[in-house]
Structure formats: structure tokens, C-alpha cells
Symmetry: C2
Subunit: 459 residues, 2 copies
């Protein structure tokens, strides 16, 4: 007997659930005939439609079978009782909020133009078609705006057909590494360098050659000997050292690529933010735009949380990209693409970059001053003058384990270059982007207290 209650879930659901339970628990055995719809309906004083709905659901899920002219039967093959186990809750990993976080790729919360972003979003949304898949390579108009910007500001030579809109740097690298698999199975990477490139290309089974950095960029002799046909570099602002590859070396790189039918991935992650000089024109623009895959991002200058990056392909690679990724769509939501298009088109992006340059320079100078004041000559500054971080190296003997323990206890987070690159000589990023201006000095002061506590007593 089934218990059907007028209150609660729909009657057909109650009937369905109870019959299902009986089948699962083998109370209704295989091949048992179910009462006819008419009989069920009159026995329980419910409508035929209710019984039909319950049977129809059981049928759809395969619990019962329908035999023409003779009715519904419990299916033969319900072989196994099953129960849903209660789920054990995982230990939740709440990310710790630090009092002072010196992360090198972070902006203070006041940097992102929220009101403007909202306004643009409201403006674009009415004309968006949310019902269709968007353009595979990224919205055409956004790509047009980007190509104009890149030409003007980064001396990149391209049209919109060469641009692919991606969901952040690792997505850009996944696309490149997937696209070039048939072309080559190894890549040369500047050393030290940004670890994400190594991670992605390793996951795609590329052999990695580390090309050591000399004073003026990577060691060309080692590159040439490697026989690699793909090179990753950060020519405008080397990561993590901050160096710039001079023009002569750039041309040698281009020549190497031309002579060896090779490609160069130019990662231009933050050079538009350069504040001590004008941004260095891109490597891509030097030559005939056939050998350089240019990679850019909105993470560094606008926001790492909006997840938009892009690559510019040499013309030759465009049809190859289109063929390989014919099934795939840019991962950037259409409203974000349209907002960004308007952001660039209306001139906000240019303004924002100028504002960021000024702001970063101010923060940089405050940080440098604080380092001199509080860390004095216990450190040397390895890199400064651009980006969102100052790179320091200890000049005193340091108990590193003790330092990081003390910092953790005091809710201070600093990052070593070993975390995100293979530069392994105890250099530390002191990122200033995440602090409002008035917090920089006190952050460095707080850091310096633990720093000196962890210094080894060298009496």
C-alpha cells in the first residue's frame, strides 16, 4: 500500500518515489506486473494522469518496462541494491587573509574602476545576444579595438583576424602549446623564468630547454645549439629579473627565428605599465610579424579577476589555429568582452594605464624609501623601477625558515622568487601593488621587525 498525502510533494512524485523504493529494495521483484493505470487510479482515488505521470517517470528511468497490450512490468535487470552514501565533508580550505600581503601581482581594492565597469556593463547588455554561442576567437569588435590599441601603444602590427581572446595567461599558453604540437615537441624557455610556462608546456609533453640569461638577454649560443624551434621570452620586462632585451639582441632573436623557421612567444605581461621609461616597443613589431606570437593580458594593468588575456598570431598560424580550435569557443563571457570593448573604445583604458603608471611609480618610490629606512643595508635591491614589485636580496645571513615562520605568525606574507620562477638565490619580492599608499611604510616596517629577528647572529 502506498501512502499518498494531499499536502507535500505532487501526488505523482509520491507514487513514483514509493514504487521506485519498492523496486530498489526488491519488494517489487523483476517481471512483476504493475496494476493497470485504471486500477491504480480507482484504488487510490487519484486521477489517471497522476498514475500515468508516475509510471512515465519510472519508465523513463528504466525501472519498469512497457509490454504492448499487457501493461507495465518491473524491469528484469535491476541487478543491485544501491544507496546514496552520506557525504563526508571535506576540510574546507579557506584562503588566509594576511594583514600585510606583499604579493607581486596584486592591486589595492581602490584601483579597479567599479562604477565605470558597472556603467559600461549596463550600457552594453541591452544589445547582446545571450542566446547564441559567441565568436570562437573572441568578439570581433573587441579584437578590432585591441588591434588599434596594440598598434598605437605597443607597436604591435596586426589586424583583428590574428587576435584570439583568452581567459588568462595559462589559457593563452594552453592554446599556443596545443596549436604548435604538430610543429614541434620542445620549447626553449628563458632561465630563470615564469613557472607557468614550464608547467603548461610540460603538461603538454613538450621537452623544456632552459636558456640562461646573460646581461643582455638569453644566451644565443645555447639557444642555437638546442635546435629548438620555439622560444619563450619576456623581452620588455624580464620575469623575474626586470631586465630589458636591447634592440640589437632583439634583432638577433628575430634573425634566429627566421633562419630556423622558428617561433618566438613574446610575453608582454606588464610593459605597458612601465613608468620610468616609455614602454619598450614590442618584439613582434620589429619585423614582418611572421615569427612572433605576442601574448598580452588585462590581469596586470586592469584586474587579475576579470580573466582576460589575448594572443596575437603570425598570419601563417591563423588558419592552423582555426582548424585546430574549430570546435572551441573563447572562454570569455560576452558581456565582459563587450564591456571591455567599450572600455577601450571610449578611451578609459588609455586613461587607466596613465593613472596606473603614476600610481605605481608613487607606490614604488614609497616602497623604496621604506626599504632604505627600515631594511637599511641588510638588503640589496636587484630590480626596481617598473612593475608592481621591488626585488630584494639579503646581504645578511638569514635563517629563512625562522623568517617565514615569524612572518606567518604575524600575518605577513612575502613571496620568494622560487615560488613562481626558478630563480633560486633567496631573492624576495616586495610587491607594493596590493597596498594603498599610506600603508606601504608600515607594511615594510612590520616586515623589517621579523626580518631582523630572523637574522642569524654572526658574532
Amino acid at each position: 500500500m502506498y501512502k499518498l498525502e494531499k499536502s507535500g510533494s505532487p501526488l505523482y512524485m509520491q507514487l513514483y518515489m514509493q514504487i521506485k523504493e519498492d523496486i530498489v529494495n526488491n519488494i517489487l521483484k523483476a517481471n512483476t506486473k504493475l496494476p493497470s493505470i485504471r486500477k491504480m487510479s480507482s484504488d487510490y482515488k487519484i486521477s489517471k494522469t497522476t498514475v500515468e505521470s508516475a509510471y512515465s517517470q519510472l519508465y523513463a528511468e528504466g525501472y519498469i518496462e512497457s509490454h504492448p497490450q499487457s501493461g507495465y512490468f518491473v524491469s528484469k535487470d535491476i541487478v543491485q541494491n544501491f544507496t546514496s552514501l552520506p557525504i563526508e565533508k571535506s576540510n574546507q580550505q579557506i584562503e588566509k587573509q594576511y594583514k600585510y600581503d606583499f604579493y607581486q601581482a596584486k592591486h589595492s581594492e581602490d584601483v579597479f574602476p567599479k562604477k565605470l565597469w558597472s556603467k559600461l556593463h549596463n550600457k552594453v547588455i541591452s544589445s547582446i545576444d545571450f542566446g547564441s554561442y559567441p565568436n570562437k576567437q573572441g568578439d570581433l569588435n573587441l579584437r578590432k579595438e585591441l588591434s588599434a590599441y596594440l598598434s598605437e601603444s605597443r607597436a604591435v602590427i596586426c589586424d583583428e583576424e590574428q587576435i584570439v581572446i583568452c581567459s588568462g595567461f595559462s589559457d593563452s599558453m594552453f592554446i599556443i602549446s596545443t596549436m604548435l604540437k604538430k610543429f614541434t615537441s620542445s620549447i626553449a624557455i628563458e632561465y630563470p623564468g615564469y613557472n607557468v610556462v614550464q608547467e603548461v608546456f610540460s603538461l603538454q609533453n613538450y621537452k623544456i630547454t632552459n636558456i640562461p640569461l646573460l646581461k643582455n638577454g638569453i644566451d644565443l649560443k645555447i639557444l642555437k645549439n638546442s635546435k629548438d624551434k620555439l622560444l619563450y621570452v619576456t623581452p620588455s620586462h624580464q620575469y623575474p629579473t626586470g631586465k630589458t632585451i636591447p634592440i640589437s639582441k632583439r634583432m638577433e632573436l628575430i634573425n634566429w627565428a627566421c633562419e630556423n623557421d622558428a617561433y618566438i612567444i613574446e610575453d608582454d605581461y606588464d610593459s605597458e605599465l612601465s613608468y620610468n621609461n616609455r614602454p619598450i616597443p614590442s618584439l613582434q613589431g620589429i619585423n614582418d610579424n611572421q615569427r612572433v606570437i605576442y601574448s598580452g593580458t588585462f590581469s596586470k594593468a586592469l584586474s587579475p579577476a576579470i580573466r582576460v588575456s589575448y594572443i596575437v598570431l603570425p598570419k601563417k598560424l591563423v588558419p592552423i589555429y582555426k582548424k585546430i580550435f574549430n570546435f572551441s569557443f573563447s572562454g570569455v563571457p560576452i558581456d565582459i568582452q563587450k564591456s571591455l570593448e567599450l572600455f577601450i573604445k571610449e578611451g578609459h583604458w588609455d586613461k587607466h594605464i596613465r593613472k596606473m603608471r603614476t600610481l605605481n611609480k608613487k607606490k614604488h618610490d614609497l616602497m623604496k624609501k621604506a626599504i632604505k629606512e627600515y631594511l637599511k643595508d641588510s638588503v640589496s635591491i636587484l630590480r626596481e623601477g617598473s612593475g608592481l614589485t621591488i626585488l630584494i636580496k639579503a646581504k645578511i645571513d638569514m635563517d629563512w625558515e625562522k623568517l617565514f615562520t615569524l612572518l606567518e605568525e604575524n600575518s605577513i606574507k612575502v613571496y620568494s622568487t622560487t615560488c613562481d620562477s626558478n630563480l633560486k638565490d633567496n631573492t624576495i619580492y616586495l610587491g607594493f601593488g596590493g597596498f594603498k599608499e599610506d600603508k606601504i611604510s608600515i607594511a615594510v616596517e612590520s616586515f623589517s621587525k621579523q626580518w631582523f629577528k630572523a637574522a642569524k647572529n654572526t658574532n
Copy 2:
């Protein structure tokens, strides 16, 4: 002599550009000493700062070198003249807009709740930290909402730690295929099946085994013989045939996975939209949630343009995922994630799904009626009753080339199952999602005119 004009770009830029040009054109030869800053300043009646800025930029880019105590010199290694070639414009591929587009994964423009989406976006934006990288797996609160929804609506058993927020289905598949590379190098895929799975896993060098569909799901004997340890299926709503795997077969699949230490990818792309029955409970929820990787998306029920999908990992795979993708961030912008979280939390998602079920059923019935009216018995209906499409097969002799030519000429677009699956027997999707209700009948009528014109005369 340099020409510096008071109007136009900044003086230092003019000086920098002209010196650079002279160097590039070999007018200023290697090792030439540049005039001192003081001399330049007095010769041109410009400030020392202006000259310094110009020299500093040339230095940063490597055009000149600085020799201590003797000044600036043109660099030795500018080996090659270079010019930026004018860029040839590519042929722009504007996507054709059809008068009647029968695409099977499309919604009419009135379906997406634009006003609500705007409102939610405005609401969440004030509390977002745009300055930091978001959670790697996807926003924690969105994952919590999703896990509650999946448990309630799809009988998926999981907590938020098992969920990864992805940028659409192919991104989901890229993550799974990358994660499982070390576990296996081959995958069994239901045949016919959705082509994107095959594309992604092939790009990742997996060997593909096609497992033919029988009446009640894939052929288990062939699966067992294949020795594969990874299987892709669409158990609730097979693509493209629309079939459902009955409960007995589901349990056999789970048993197969348990016995063989194998994983099943359950692609549950649109079963929440089922309108003839309640949605079939997921395969993932049947067992102990250790063998099924569940894949879901917002593309089918909400919008393909917002690019949000998700996967639910078995607990065992969570640490493996975290280790492999430690460097990578979910590609979904934080404002989209937060808007979506609120969309689910405030109950709009449930309401939306109910609305979509009713609407789709209405459109489906209109389309079916129109097919009977205009195509009469020239076609058989292979699949109906769920999703956004009716699958038809010609019962008359058809000149297919002529048909597609005629359709193209009349701005009508239909899709064959060969376009996105390997079902190759001239079946055609008549998708209804993209039409407003009052356009369905006329769309089918227009299609039918070309259909009968292309029929072979079998006198």
C-alpha cells in the same frame, strides 16, 4: 639637425624618435658618441630633462650605451635595418546571419533575463576584490550554491571541494583530459557521440575507442574488451539520439568502473531541461561518488554566451587536480561568478529552469505540429520530447547537395548530425530554441518548400 616642434608630441619623444631613426638608418653609426646632455640642451634650447628623457628611452631600448665618465654611444650591435611592413588586411569573416537558423543549441533573444542579470551584476560588484587573483577552482560560494543545486535537482552527491568552475564544455574536457593523462592514454566514447569530446581528447593524444550504442545504451561487451579505463557517456539524454540509459544499464556501468578501476565522464549537458519527464537522476549519484566525473553547463539552460560550465570530481581526484592545476586560475571572471552565485541563491535559477521547461515544451509541440503539417510523411521523427531540437530523417529520396544549396540561397540554415557528431545517416536537426514561438511554423514552412524542391524525382 633635429626638428623639434613646440606643438605635437612631447619634445623628448620627438628627439627620441629622430635619433632612433638615424640609428636605424645607419646615419648615426655604431660607436658614435652622442652630444652631451648639456650640449644638446643648449644647442636646441630645450631643458636638460628633455634630453635626459630621450636618451634614457634610447638607453632602455638598447639603441645607445652608457660609458662611465665619457657619455652615451650608439650601440655596437644594431646589425640590421628594419622597417615595419604595411599590414595586409585579412578578408574579414563576418558571420552570416540567416533568416531562419535551425541551430540545435540556441535560444531566442527573449530567453535570457537581461534586466535581472544587470541588477545582480550591479548588486555584487561593490563587494568584489578586483585587485586579486580569484580562487583557482572557482569562487567558493558559487561552488557551495552549485553543490546544493546539484544535490537537490540532479541527485549529484558532492561538496564544494569537488567542484571546478570552467569556461564552457571544451574547457571542462581540457581539464579532465589533462588531469587524467598520467592515469590513462585512451578513452572509450559512445558512438555516435558529441564531436567535441573526440576533438579534445585527440588533441591530448588519447587513443579513442568508439563504443556503439545499442537500444539501451552503449555496448558493454565492446567496452569491456577495449580495456579502456575511461569512458565518456551522456546517460540522461544521449547526444545526438536523445536516448536515456535505463537504471539497470547505469548500474552495470558503475560496476564496470568499480571492477576495472576506471572513471566515467557523465556529460549531463541539458537533462535539467527535460520536459516530458522529471529529469533523470544523475549517474554520479547512484553509487558512492568515486567513479564518475560529472560535467554540467549553464550554456544550454541559461546562455551559451556567458561561458560557464563545471565539473564535479570524485574525491580521490581532487588532490590530483589541485596538484596539476596549482598554477592555473578558473577562467570565469569574478563578477560573472558572483552574479551567478546570487542568481542561484535567490532562487532565480530554479524559476528560470521551470520557465524554460514550459517554453521549450511549447516550442517543441509547435515545431512537431509544423513538421507534420508541412513535411508530412516525407520524414520520420527520430528524436523528440526533450532538448531544443527534433531530429528528422528523410523518407524520400533527397538530393542533399541541391537541398543545402537551395537553403543557403534562401537564407535558411539547418544542421546535419554529421556536423557535430559521427551519426552519418542523413539525419537533420530541426532546432526550435532559436525561434520565438510565433516564428516556428513559418520557419518550417519555408524549409519545407526547399525540401520538396530538392527531392529526387522518382518517377
